[in-house]
Symmetry: C2
Subunit: 661 residues, 2 copies
């Protein structure tokens, strides 16, 4: 079957004769303009391996899995509806294919690959063929006119709020279509998306004759904003506004999908974490694009709730498997932490948008924490296996899987990793924001003129970053370098976590070898000057090992500390600590015995050894203590050496050891 | 105001001229007949102090509190309805007064007290005066024709399922009325109750013109059964059947009140624990009185769920304060255990009824566990302060209170303690069941003839019980002595808890000094013989200290053990362990260093000292261990020496001490 599908696709593709168009730059209207992934060429010691694994392993794997699990066949069946057609396993299976295409698009832009592009083109042919005449595109309904998928409801939109995911699938279609058009200039998928978008705008909304439903799984909001930015069609932005303004006012009031009350009245992030992130990213988009103070107020309040009450030290969110949801304020259990990989990706979307709105570094600080810890843990170094939940402690037996029935996480990794270059820089007027630190060469549009900047760094394990100004079409510009929260002694932009040691990293910036003192504002050091080609900016961040304490209201972390170095959160695994990792106690003032370079995981890392006490039992079963040490490795690298024990937080003898209850 | 109320009551009382009638024996139709409290005179080293505290302190205190808090005035106001009358604080305030009267009735029967009886008579005069012409009696509605109490709903019964407690108040009225009639022969309250019962049977039910509601707070079910047994009016039993058969089929489907599904479909005990116990006691009544296999099946299944999944080692139930409810299966946290005193009392009701239905000792085993631990902890030795929740661990600051706004627990203690004599014996044909062990003299009706039996014992701290046959109107009878679960190596009638030691108590029974081997059946040792006056039966139960383990699925107790001796569960308190009780670990095989008699709490008790290891921290904050011991006292006596730390379960070194997480 697989072969025939691809043959069928190839034939259709040949018949339609796609022409390769020029890449079009979309017009963006955020207060701050992100420098698109198309303009940043990454060549980095840390990220190259990840980007390569993404294009060589993850994306091909996800396409293969999509074929094997019938996700591609669904489109073929929908192109030929029949009462004999079987239905997709999940009503949202289309979305996985779209997400992998989106990832392929980002990857193709950076690493052109004719074979991959041809394959995607044939998939697009299949997808377009599955579209109904009026633009509606949703294989779970279209493929069989007589059978109703249990997830979809009888007619279009009717089951949307209950979980039909029609609008959700559109969302991922739109993100894929815009990305593929950006990367290749090809419009076939974009045009199909526009037809579907127009169908939605006609059929779904608050007006008589329309289905007054809101998305049962959010995602369309931010995607339709992208389509608006790509096409300039204002009705798309209006539709997004409808989706957000009417949420909580239609029939289904349900905390799980954040429709328990109008968005304007929501002050606490609750319910399904991924849905929440996609919704709030859409609200942030509306806030950024419209400047409407109401949306800004809503989204700032909700972000504060995450930062103050619901964020794991790894930047993960969503404390509970029960509804894949946020827990209560300060409910952040470690071993049962859900921390879905998709939710981490969604939080990254939200933080990027809030940065583009407010220009404050705290959003990128949280984004960086998520990126290097709770998000990156979601995929193996090899790119071939994935975590759905990302707990902070494990008694063993839990490991990454090659795929999941509900495959949202692998397909989200497919699209996120190759999109990374789009998070490095942003520009506002003549200010260039350097948000992420990784070796790359970027071509920036600064007030209409081209500036080329390169970065060389061993970040995140090394705190030295060298910027070189390679082209100065614009000479006068303000290079705004993010001074990370961990340098400013704030692990997170709140009091949820604090540093428990007396270390205080300092930093130093030199221009052409001379120390400079720029102005610090909103977390950025501004170097506003006349630049010339060849100018060098050297940034040095101290990277001591830090111990972190949680707010006492986080019961799960009471009496415990964890370790960080730079943006990296550490954990202990059985592989390095054969006595297991649940039987160690730390002294009142944890001290680092050693940091050491290692390449255990096929790259360069820094390991840590801290003094600790090992507790065991004597023959009678009484506690026996001995001086020992704990070896720590980066959290995102756990579970590369067997599915054994792992732990991030360690008990510390600073109070009565009531934890023995 | 108080004075005038009592004066008014005394006048009314004099006018009505109560005649003292003979005590009537109610006709009971359970498969097994309980020997009523009126026939068992207790004179016991353990219970005398409790019974005396009940009549000298608790009941007078509860009457005084009922006056001070306006609960008596409510009846005066209802007798003179006015738009100016203030409303009761809680819509169910009447019920507390009824419960204290019920307790006073039991107490009066055993210890006649003219002054108390006169006082109760005046209260009854007030209560009867508050009754509406058609029998309806509920001060929260009657007292003011213009104001509606927020808890009651606009018209009769309309708010019942939401919480108006009209039927609940009737329930406690009926229990008080039957008890007072049994104790004194006076019918005034009973007649008023019958008028109210007839009003309910007319107005509430499934027929056209009736309010088809079920009780929002159960309690009427078992009470109306009592009224049926007292009056023989079958319509009361029919009404109970309606309440049970229609629960889950009326408008309000709500787990909290066990109306989420029909009772016949309920397989797990959920929601508000007290409501559940009152309901299931009613179901057990119906099962016992009708012999209907369906009810028997329902109630057996639900009891199994408690025994297997939801029972604390103290015999308490209701794991969570959230809704005063049962937790999930095996969800039995210690420090946050709710274990409402009223729920323990309700469980006792249920177990007594299931024993009367099935004649198996396991119900009395559970009843005894609750009685001596999780129920008795609800009231101080002095009888003047009360626990509402009864946790199994405490970090300090929690103590008994003199009263509560919602006063269900003190008033329930008022009625339970003096009713204890009714739980000692039961009779079926020529079998006499000896269920509880305490010194008493009981007059039993055995197949229509009088048998007088006495018990002398130092139980629960001493395992020797001496029965003497004092009168043998019936010579041939079968004395069935309960062999407690803890003697048969089963702390509870399930695998929820097991003994973790190798002790195995034995027991011995002698008749007139000669060892006998009776038949054991359903947990009872049967001595079926021709008895003569003066025959002596000596029972000896070994009482070693036992260590108990919870089923591994009870996460809260993982890696921990607790201690029992006889029916008594032990705890450690700061008063005996000044280093606190949260910093001790036990060896693999906990060993008792000493058991010792003590009279710390104004009676005779047995204390326990076990070997333990104390954990503390050295200057660096590393764990320091030292050999030490833990001193344990009976759980029900905790919090008599300051509101400090208390703990029942202790961590034990039998596995990797993962508890340090």
């Amino acid at each position: 079957m697989k072969k025939s599908v691809l043959f069928f696709a190839a034939v259709l593709c040949a018949l339609q004769g796609f022409a390769r168009n020029e890449v079009s730059q979309i017009s963006v209207n955020y207060p701050i303009t992100p420098v698109p992934f198309t303009s940043v060429k990454v060549d980095d010691g840390f990220w190259n391996a990840r980007l390569q694994a993404s294009r060589d392993v993850t994306i091909p794997l996800a396409f293969r899995k999509s074929e094997e699990t019938g996700r591609i066949d669904n489109f073929v069946r929908a192109a030929h509806p029949s009462a004999d057609n079987k239905l997709p396993q999940y009503q949202y299976d289309d979305s996985d294919v779209y997400k992998v295409i989106e990832g392929a698009a980002y990857s193709l832009q950076t690493y052109p690959d004719k074979r991959l592009e041809r394959y995607v083109d044939s998939l697009i042919t299949l997808i377009v063929a599955a579209q109904e005449a009026d633009g509606y595109l949703y294989t779970a309904r279209t493929c069989n006119p007589t059978k109703i998928h249990p997830g979809t409801g009888k007619t279009r939109w009717e089951g949307e709020e209950g979980g039909s995911h029609e609008l959700y699938c559109f969302g991922h279609l739109a993100e894929a279509a815009v990305a593929y058009w950006q990367a290749t200039g090809k419009r076939a998928l974009l045009d199909a998306t526009i037809r579907f978008a127009d169908c939605i705008c006609r059929e779904v909304g608050p007006n008589p004759g329309q289905a007054m439903v809101i998305p049962g799984h959010q995602g369309i909001e931010l995607a339709m904003v992208k389509l608006y930015l790509a096409t300039g069609k204002k009705e798309y932005l209006d539709e997004v506004r409808y989706f957000i303004d009417y949420r909580g006012k239609t029939k289904t009031k349900w905390e799980y999908i954040q429709s328990h009350k109008p968005v304007a009245d929501q002050t606490e992030v609750v319910g399904h974490a991924v849905r929440a992130m996609y919704l709030y990213s859409g609200v942030a988009d509306l806030a950024a694009l419209t400047g409407d103070e109401n949306y800004i107020h809503i989204i700032d309040r909700l972000w504060d709730n995450i930062a103050n009450n619901k964020l794991y030290i790894t930047g993960g969110i969503g404390a509970t498997a029960n509804g894949e949801a946020f827990g209560k304020n300060y409910e952040l259990p470690n071993e049962t932490a859900y921390n879905e990989t998709c939710a981490a990706i969604g939080l990254t979307f939200l933080n990027q948008r809030l940065f583009l709105l407010h220009g404050e570094s705290k959003y990128i600080d949280m984004l960086e924490r998520t990126l290097y810890n709770g998000l990156l843990s979601g995929v193996s170094v090899e790119g071939n296996s994935f975590f759905y939940p990302n707990p902070l402690a494990c008694h063993g037996g839990y490991e990454r899987s090659e795929w999941f029935g509900c495959a949202c996480c692998p397909s989200n990794i497919c699209r996120f990793i190759p999109s990374l270059p789009g998070y490095v820089y942003a520009v506002k007027d003549k200010t260039v924001y350097a948000n992420l630190f990784l070796s790359n060469r970027a071509t920036l549009d600064v007030a209409g003129k081209q500036v080329v900047l390169s970065q060389q760094t061993g970040y995140p394990y090394d705190g030295d970053i060298a910027f070189t100004v390679e082209k100065t079409g614009q000479k006068a510009f303000d290079l705004a370098i993010r001074i990370p929260g961990w340098v400013k002694n704030k692990p997170v932009p709140s009091d949820l976590y604090t540093y428990a040691d007396n270390e205080r990293p300092s930093y130093e910036v030199r221009v052409n070898g001379q120390p400079v003192k720029g102005d610090e504002a909103k977390g950025y050091l501004h170097l506003n000057r006349q630049w010339k080609k060849g100018d060098k900016v050297s940034v040095h961040f101290d990277m001591p090992v830090r111990t972190v304490k949680a707010n006492p209201q986080v019961k799960a972390d009471n009496g415990m500390v964890c370790f960080e170095r730079g943006p990296i959160v550490y954990c202990a695994e059985t592989a390095d600590n054969p006595k297991g990792v649940f039987t160690y106690a730390l002294p009142k003032r944890p001290h680092v015995e050693q940091t050491y370079p290692t390449n255990l995981f096929g790259g360069k890392q820094v390991g840590i050894r801290v003094a600790a006490q090992h507790l065991s039992l004597d023959g009678e079963g009484y506690v026996k203590t001995e001086r020992d040490h704990l070896t720590l490795v980066p959290y995102h690298l756990w579970d590369h050496r067997g599915a054994k024990q792992m732990k991030v937080w360690f008990p510390q003898g600073t109070k009565e050891i009531e934890a023995v209850e």
